[in-house]
């Protein structure tokens, strides 16, 4: 897994590449979030468009990211969910928890 960080209109966008599975990616994501929150960057958009595979641990990791950010008074939203990730979130009623977008401009605008 690789995480690229960029900022658009003051919102931190994390482009996630690769897999979010058991033993893969969780440390990177947690470290990155901790680093951002410590720097006061609390509005975060996770771009999952280039994520190739997510298992139940990966879904749990997304939930952990969400709670970590919201507990710090921040907002974490999702961008470009693949069909499979969308199904996994829907089955476990997590689409009601996460705010997700298909369009990056709309996603960025939603933080305003």
């Amino acid at each position: 897994m690789r995480i690229d960080t960029r900022t658009t209109d003051g919102i931190t966008v994390l482009d996630i590449h690769g897999r979010i599975t058991i033993g893969e990616g969780s440390v990177e994501m947690r470290n990155k979030l901790r680093e951002l929150l410590q720097a006061g960057k609390k509005d975060i958009l996770l771009n999952l468009g280039d994520v190739s595979y997510v298992d139940s641990s990966g879904i749990g990791e997304l939930v952990s990211c969400y709670t970590t950010v919201t507990n710090q008074g921040g907002r974490l939203k999702l961008l470009h969910l693949t069909k499979k990730v969308q199904e996994l979130l829907a089955i476990t009623k997590l689409l009601t928890v996460f705010e997700s977008y298909e369009d990056e401009k709309k996603a960025i605008g939603s933080f305003k």
Partner: protein
Amino acid sequence: MDAELLTRFRYDDYDLKPLGDVTQRTNSAQKGEIEISFASELRYLDIIQVVSDSITRMLNFDDDTRYWVGMSVRESVTNAILHGNKMDEGKRVWVRFDLSPDRLVIYVRDQGAGFDESKLPNPLDPRNLLRPSGRGIFYIRTFMDDVRYSVLAEGGMEVRMEKRLNNKLKSDQEGEANAN
């Protein structure tokens, strides 16, 4: 040991070719059994998933079904390694695929103490929605047609997961009906 992946193929009259069209598949008497065993290390997950994908491809499952069966196998093996065998590399996990004309049955067995499935928290309960874990078995139950857990008399836990081919036939027929 790196190469401690033992693969055992036991065929009756199984033919390693796509089973052809639905009628041919349903009427054929082909069956086979494939068993793999390995030490409790997460790095073997990808190998098991490749085997699962190959088998479901051979059985002509559609792409979505293959994906979800593969994920169910992966989740079950993860549970066996992590929760069953507690990552003890001295303990093994067995995965067996039973191929028959009308269904694929997959068994995943570990050497752990087992658990009472009825005591697992419901991941859909609003109080559990934000828990970071506890969704694997729920996903398996969603994607497979029949799932049973049993504590084995000789020790260890086994999950039996079944995916029926006639369900695919049914969905194919519905798809065709919708297309008409």
